[in-house]
Symmetry: C2
């Protein structure tokens, strides 16, 4: 396994939940970890091929669906996943164009920065509502799953962050508005 790319681990993790096709892995990632993790097909399919070659996953082809491949974890794959989960996660630098523009805001009309902040507030309020709804749905649909607790934690993380952003936006709107 290469050192830097975590796509392989993301795949192993998804397959620890259930056997899936590449297509399904993508869909699952988009609907469950979209707030903090994304994968494109350009990463996914080559990574699946590598994992297969290394024996970390195996493929089944359903009889009625000759062009479909359902992958599942091998024992080695599960061990690799667990070993990765034990290690301290690496920090990754974020790049926020929004904050960069705000940082240089003295060069333009304050109203422009105010607009950007309003848009940020609006977006985070929407995301907040969506995440609250998702929380309820998730708790219902997976109420007996061992995964539920952890999934709710990552959702709650997103909620905490979005709330903080909204609060900050509102404070800054006052800050800029009073001028």
């Amino acid at each position: 396994m290469t050192k830097a790319s975590k796509t392989e681990y993301a795949i192993l993790g998804m397959l620890s939940i259930a056997p899936m096709s590449g297509y399904d892995i993508r869909k699952t990632i988009q609907s469950s970890t979209a707030n903090f993790w994304a994968e494109s097909y350009g990463q996914l399919y080559p990574a699946l091929a590598r994992l297969l070659k290394q024996g970390l996953i195996r493929a089944d082809t359903p009889e009625d669906h000759a062009d479909k491949k359902v992958y599942h974890l091998s024992e080695m794959g599960m061990d690799t996943l667990k070993a990765w989960l034990l290690k301290a996660p690496e920090k990754q630098m974020i790049r926020s164009e929004f904050l960069l523009k705000l940082f240089f805001g003295a060069n333009i009309e304050p109203l422009v920065s105010l607009d950007h902040i309003k848009a940020e507030a609006y977006e985070n309020k929407n995301r907040l509502v969506a995440m609250q709804e998702k929380k309820i749905k998730l708790a219902e649909e997976h109420k007996d799953s061992k995964h539920l607790q952890f999934w709710l934690m990552t959702l709650e993380y997103g909620i905490h962050i979005a709330e903080a952003k909204v609060k900050w936006c509102e404070a800054m709107m006052k800050n800029l508005g009073e001028k």
Copy 2:
């Protein structure tokens, strides 16, 4: 100017604060926008060359320092910067290995996830203290600068986020500890 890379704009923005060498731009970025923006020399110097070629910046060489280049914005450069600042910032996807590991936490001992969360709490508390101190220092050092207000806003953003993360960590520590 290419479509996707924002390195050029980050440079123009830094030069809107003061004329600087490439080395100084890097240092300024690291000490002021490190929480939301980073640049490496491998990006910086080629970008400076491109900006120079396009006439968006100009270079002076100090007499006593023949190997040093001090860049400053041209009028066109300032216009380009302003035009960019007016546009709505693009979203960029983040990737959090921390949250990804937590998402798959059901595969391992809960104590491991608890450890990761404790580490996250610790780190954010430290960052919080550093940012609080920075806030005071910044307000003193740039109290007459038109930039101060905006710089404080980006700092305050980091503080809001870090506080939210700490709160979330503490809630999750209870959540996992009670089991």
